[in-house]
């Protein structure tokens, strides 16, 4: 029953489903002990004209900069808004175009650090600004983007609050099927 309801909705509403892969580069001091890591993710999008809302999930596992049983797992879930800036269109097809996309998103990172069997977990909210290139052709959409991600952490420290910001850079590419 559910598919009978969902399929017409997806067809008519401009949804898209896709996946993405990339590389995460730690910074803000994290790079002294952690290497860059691969990123894998999936996203669910909704587009209305040139505007897009995206719900995305991604995982990356940062390794230590030495042979070590250490890993920093980063699962993140985000909601973002993007806008497409169309630069060109194919003459033969109206649904084929390409251009740049700028997006802003906010999300929550679910973190885990492991060292052998030891594990500590945490979470950190983040904001991200991304710019990238996209190409749309029929039902398919490909993109390459550069994400600037800032994780924010804060906690009380006596009468004040201790705040820590961590910057990470991600280069990612993705494909999506647009309904």
């Amino acid at each position: 029953m559910l598919p009978l309801v969902l399929v017409p909705l997806l067809v008519s509403a401009g949804f898209e489903v896709g996946g993405r892969i990339g590389v995460v580069f730690p910074a803000s001091g994290l790079e002294t002990t952690h290497d860059a890591a691969a990123l894998f993710g999936a996203n669910l999008g909704y587009e209305a004209g040139l505007n897009r809302l995206t719900l995305a999930y991604a995982y990356s596992g940062l390794q230590a900069r030495q042979a070590s049983p250490y890993r920093f797992d980063l699962h993140d879930l985000s909601l973002g808004y993007g806008r497409e800036f169309v630069l060109g269109r194919a003459l033969s097809r109206a649904d084929s175009y390409w251009g740049f996309e700028a997006s802003a998103s906010a999300g929550l990172g679910l973190l885990g650090r492991t060292f052998n069997s030891a594990r500590e977990t945490g979470k950190a909210p983040y904001g991200a600004l991304a710019v990238g290139f996209f190409q749309r052709q029929g039902h398919s959409r490909v993109m390459v983007a550069l994400d600037n991600v800032v994780f924010s952490e804060s906690r009380p420290a006596g009468n004040t609050s201790s705040v820590s910001l961590t910057y990470m850079l991600a280069i990612k590419g993705g494909v999506a099927y647009v309904f």
Partner: protein
């Protein structure tokens, strides 16, 4: 007049701002140096009413390895540090009949890095040393360590947040030099050792200066 796109952007940013109130400081701990050995650094401790001063004075080469020289109350100690851990050059010397016999001389692992809550590490040194030509002395020096907590620690030098507590059990079996000790240490990000408790003895940081 804000456009529809602008309103959506503001909504996203507002959601981010709401989320910014939380966080477990895990990134902060992951990128912090819990045992800085920077030349020019200086730590002053209160040790049972007495003052002890540690300072990093420079580099040296001991037993073929480049190490950092730390003066602990003006006595040199030799430390090495890399991303995997911290070692200290250890010499265990037995004096018999006015003659020194080296029972142990090595870089002993002190901390395994990076610190993760619940992490454990262990090292054991074993040897047999012949003393005065006839006496055989078995030597065993072992430590068992565990990261047991993340604490905020108040000291006369200030309050330090996100300190890792490391519990250490050390056993030395080396004739009359044998001993066993248990101690707890708190290491603060960017500062290093801020407190140590061993039985009824304690060491607390009263002042520090980080070198550049």
């Amino acid at each position: 007049m804000c456009s529809s796109a602008c309103r959506r952007l503001l909504l996203v940013l507002a959601a981010g701002a709401l989320l910014a109130g939380c966080g477990d400081m895990m990134f902060y701990r992951a990128k912090s140096d819990y045992f800085p050995l920077i030349p020019g650094s200086r730590w002053t401790y209160d040790v049972g009413g007495n003052t002890a001063i540690d300072s990093v004075v420079g580099d040296s080469v001991v037993d073929g390895r480049t190490c950092v020289v730390v003066l602990r109350d003006y006595a040199p100690e030799y430390w090495t540090k890399d991303v995997a851990g911290v070692t200290q050059h250890t010499s265990l010397i037995l004096n018999r009949g006015g003659q020194d016999f080296v029972l142990e001389q090595e870089y002993r692992p002190i901390y395994a890095l990076p610190f993760v809550l619940g992490a454990t590490w262990h090292s054991t040194y074993r040897d047999t040393v012949v003393v005065q030509g006839t006496d055989t002395v078995p030597v065993r020096d072992s430590i068992d360590c565990r990261v047991t907590a993340v604490d905020d620690i108040g000291t006369p030098a200030g309050t330090f947040v996100q300190c890792y507590r490391v519990e250490t059990h050390r056993e030395v079996e080396a004739a009359e030099l044998s001993y066993t000790t248990d101690y707890y240490e708190w290491l603060a990000p960017g500062v290093g050792l801020v407190k140590r408790v061993a039985g009824t003895d304690s060491l607390v940081l009263t002042d520090y200066h980080t070198g550049r």
